[in-house]
């Protein structure tokens, strides 16, 4: 698949690419579901009205195009005397977040992040919130963060306990053992390893 970069806005890492004859916008965070199709005349508008640079670059894959665009953001900002920080402090983000956004983030921690057992992510967010001015500007978010932190800790303990329980039980291939096929399975596994392929050669 050829990805042709038709135009790009280097400082933002945004590109207009042509794939299978269609123009698409790609932009950070470069999600595959967020590549709107653009009208053909939009290309000229982007270049002549909105400061995009025309391009003739071609890439073998989306990932290569994204790597190029990402690097453009680094290079152009460096040439402007700006550095992109290696990391962004969570506190800095939450310091400037309005209440509706903080509530939205807390909802996601409660409904998505903790249930998905992404405990480190939840903890990082909640501790950042408690360290930020958000918890003093909006005390209710601080209280909710404390409750969620407790829930996260409790869920993490439960999860760790369950993992330990499983690790302590010998649950390796109980079904094969029960059916007396363990030795045959070991032989097959060795055969596949030596052959380097799951499939047997045709006879």
């Amino acid at each position: 698949m050829k990805v042709k970069l038709e135009a790009f806005s280097p400082a933002e890492g945004i590109g207009i690419i042509r794939v299978y004859h269609k123009l698409r916008l790609i932009r950070p965070p470069y999600l595959s579901q967020d590549t709107p199709v653009l009208a053909e005349e939009a290309l000229e508008d982007a270049i002549l009205r909105h400061g995009f640079s025309a391009s003739t670059e071609q890439f073998g894959s989306w990932e290569d195009a994204i790597t190029f665009l990402n690097q453009q953001a680094v290079d152009v900002r460096r040439s402007l005397g700006q550095t992109i920080p290696e990391s962004i402090m969570g506190k800095d983000i939450l310091d400037v977040a309005p209440l509706d956004i903080l509530n939205n983030f807390l909802d996601r921690i409660e409904r998505e992040i903790i249930p998905q057992r992404l405990f480190d992510q939840a903890e990082e967010f909640l501790l950042s919130l408690l360290a930020s001015s958000a918890s003093t500007r909006h005390p209710e978010t601080g209280s909710r963060a404390v409750r969620l932190l407790q829930r996260n800790t409790s869920a993490r303990k439960q999860s760790d306990a369950r993992v330990s329980e499983l690790a302590n039980r010998d649950i390796r291939f109980p079904s094969l053992e029960r059916h007396g096929e363990l030795e045959e399975s070991v032989r097959l596994a060795e055969l596949i390893r030596v052959r380097g392929c799951v499939f047997a050669p045709a006879s």
């Binding site: 806005s9 400082a11 933002e12 890492g13 945004i14 916008l25 950070p28 965070p29 470069y30 967020d34 653009l38 009208a39 939009a42 000229e44 508008d45 982007a46 270049i47 002549l48 009205r49 909105h50 400061g51 995009f52 640079s53 025309a54 391009s55 003739t56 994204i66 665009l69 990402n70 690097q71 453009q72 953001a73 680094v74 900002r77 040439s79 402007l80 992109i84 920080p85 990391s87 962004i88 969570g90 800095d92 983000i93 310091d95 400037v96 977040a97 956004i101 939205n104 983030f105 996601r108 992040i113 992404l118 992510q121 990082e124 967010f125 950042s128």
Partner: protein, 275 residues
């Protein structure tokens, strides 16, 4: 060489006459609506420019809006190559069209291109932040011309040649912008409800272009409008910062967004989130 602003000023009477002629040809109730629309354009619309987030950050850091030529000059200073080369490299096959238009006019390389804005986010596809200029911004009212569409479309013939006929006949000065807009949308106004009037002024692919000369900086900005979808897209990216290391371009944008939000909290800039 053409003087765009002198042409616009010279068109004032013709624009007024064209408006009155259209009004006279309409049934009274429709004519009244078109007059009301014209009055609304005069009192409610402002000039807007769609920009990328980095431009807002540059405003907050004391910078000014750059047009293509000023950008090329800056590139020349930074890299040592000629501004013309930077311009050609950026525009490539579109170079001729851009410079043909701008260089046909006196001071054309100083032009800024905006759009008349009645409350929407302008043309946000590539430049999602709609900078609305303050009514009392220090832009000289004599250095503004209002066009009935995108200059790079309406001033070029099908064969690609420059054709300034539209400029010469339909461009309006600031004092007559509302009459020009009402005249251009006279058929649509009676069919639209008033909530749709901002869309009659500017919607995707159709707008009244405003060409002017003057500085655009934080001091001249009334507010910045951004679509709710874009606003939440940026917050989503900021939220992702808690789960993984963001790419450089993502961190750059999140950093810009945080700076813009800080400007909002400090009361230096007003951002309206528009559905």
């Amino acid at each position: 060489m053409l003087d765009l602003f002198a042409i616009a000023r010279g068109n004032a009477n013709a624009v007024h006459a064209a408006f009155e002629s259209v009004i006279a040809s309409m049934p009274p109730e429709q004519a009244a609506l078109v007059r009301e629309f014209a009055a609304w354009v005069e009192t409610e619309t402002l000039i807007s420019i769609n920009v990328k987030l980095l431009v807002i950050v540059e405003f907050l850091n004391g910078g000014r809006y750059q047009n293509t030529y000023e950008w090329a000059q800056e590139q020349s200073r930074l890299s040592g190559r000629s501004a013309e080369d930077a311009l050609r490299e950026r525009l490539q096959e579109h170079y001729e069209k851009r410079v043909t238009f701008d260089r046909a006019f006196k001071d054309g390389e100083q032009f800024r291109y905006g759009a008349l804005n009645g409350g929407g986010v302008g043309l946000p596809e590539y430049a999602p932040y709609c900078v609305v200029l303050a009514r009392n911004s220090p832009i000289s009212l004599g250095d503004i011309a209002y066009l009935p569409g995108d200059s790079l479309k309406i001033c070029f013939a099908a064969d690609g040649s420059f054709d300034p006929t539209v400029i010469e006949s339909r461009t309006a000065p600031h004092t007559h912008r509302h009459l020009m807009a009402a005249n251009e949308r006279a058929i649509e106004v009676p069919l639209a409800n008033k909530q749709e009037w901002p869309d009659l002024v500017a919607s995707s692919g159709r707008f009244f272009e405003v060409v002017f000369i003057g500085d655009v900086s934080l001091e001249t900005v009334e507010c910045v409008r951004v679509l709710k979808t874009e606003y939440h897209r940026m917050w989503d990216m900021a939220f992702a910062n808690f789960g993984r290391k963001l790419r450089d371009a993502e961190r750059a944008l999140v950093q810009d967004f945080v700076q813009m939000r800080r400007g909002v909290i400090d009361g230096r800039i007003q951002v309206e989130v528009v559905s």
